[in-house]
Subunit: 255 residues, 2 copies
């Protein structure tokens, strides 16, 4: 009767610096805040602190824009140095607009604005920006293994970023790196309440978990970079990658 | 220290029939399952039970397809009677494919496949399908006012449906009707951790809440049509509509 899921936001993670051990920071914050880590917990981490720990922070003053970056900057009205970084983080440009949109497919295969390059919640001027971690699945795995080492517990880890969406207003938090969890809950071939068999329903549970975590993380002064989810069923998968969430281009209906 | 959000899934909502009072069913289930309803709770309701209560259930055998429906059915390979219903529920067709995709803008302004017409989790044959409630904001408001009447508590209500997404694999649960809650958390003009002012960040918190609820609701035999969210900050808004989440066509980058 009355199933429960608990979302717990850690509030004492210190300012993260290059070289910091995120797994250890999580375990220590849990101890401080009296939160137990248990087998089957899902630990959701905003990519911003991972980028900081991995040194994926760039000062725009150190960037020299290429000719192509200068052209795109002129067309979109964006800072040419920022455009240069976006190009470096991208496999291809999907869409440009005079209103300042640069939609790309990132080196990780995510279709998003500005290749995820972002200047919020980083110390320093607006010229200090964060890139998405180089391999967010690997970052998630590292955190997961470190937590296992420190606590003996087997958790899943999801690394997230917040993006806008085609056709829908407002941004939501999505999964960009995962470890130990399938990104999907697959109902295909399973019966519903009345024995009808689902033909197409696959739920992007990793994205739903990311969105749930955002309710606590917030974008501003909330200072909650980590959310622990307890009581949520998920399919364990050692080989899963958040890249499975990126729809292959040949399946795009909207271009 | 350690902020918490709790998601509680009600497991004793009975089979819903036309004319049923969803607000009352929620309050009774809460009593049975020892769940208190408090001011500020957010009650998330899958649209399927609302559609059942409002009699938005259709037997395809009673539908005569129009000439246009027959043409589209031939092109997409879909049941012509289903196509007829989809057309009736739509303002316009956004995209058709030979692979069976019918993407429309519904009468509510939502861009989605099949106008949300769906045959899962309804008693009877596969020919019995559910439509989205006619006015999901109004349905949400009715449930909210009834809960206020029965308990004296002021809650927010969100009605949800599960949709696929452009460019991203897997479906997620989204808000299609709301009452008492702004669909957005707006950070524009607010400072981040370091005093940087957000220029564009608006979070679609109603969609994130819908996704969070889906973690408990599931799609199959979970039998959890209602999730109560406790401890989540939201902006109260008497006039808000889920229609604010539909991006106006002139802003579409992907078409």
């Amino acid at each position: 009767m009355a199933k429960k899921i608990e979302l717990i936001g850690l509030e004492t993670i210190p300012e993260v610096k290059k070289g910091d051990d995120i797994g250890e920071l999580i375990v220590k914050a849990c101890r401080r805040e009296n939160v137990s880590i248990e087998n089957g917990d899902i630990i959701i981490v905003t990519h911003k602190i991972v980028s900081k720990a991995e040194g994926r922070i760039v000062n725009l003053n150190n960037i020299t824009p290429s000719k192509r970056a200068l052209e795109i900057a002129k067309y979109t009205g964006k800072d040419p140095r920022l455009v240069e970084l976006i190009l470096k983080e991208s496999d291809k440009i999907v869409k440009l607009s005079k209103e300042g949109h640069i939609i790309v497919k990132t080196i990780h295969g995510i279709v998003c604005a500005n290749a995820g390059v972002d200047s919020s919640n980083i110390a320093g001027t607006e010229e200090i920006v964060a890139l998405i971690p180089k391999d967010p699945d690997f970052s998630a795995r590292k955190i997961r293994l470190r937590i296992k080492e420190l606590t003996g517990k087997d958790v899943a880890v999801i690394i997230t970023d917040t993006y806008g969406r085609p056709l829908r207003e407002g941004m939501i938090n999505m999964a960009i790196g995962i470890s130990g969890i399938s990104p999907f809950r697959d109902y295909r071939g399973k019966p519903d309440l009345y024995g009808y068999t689902f033909r197409v329903t696959v739920i992007a549970v990793a994205d739903e978990l990311a969105s749930a975590a955002e309710l606590l993380m917030g974008q501003g002064k909330e200072k909650i970079p980590i959310v622990i989810v307890k009581g949520c069923y998920y399919k364990r998968d050692e080989k899963a990658s958040a890249k499975e969430l990126n729809m292959p281009e040949e399946k795009w209906l909207f271009k």
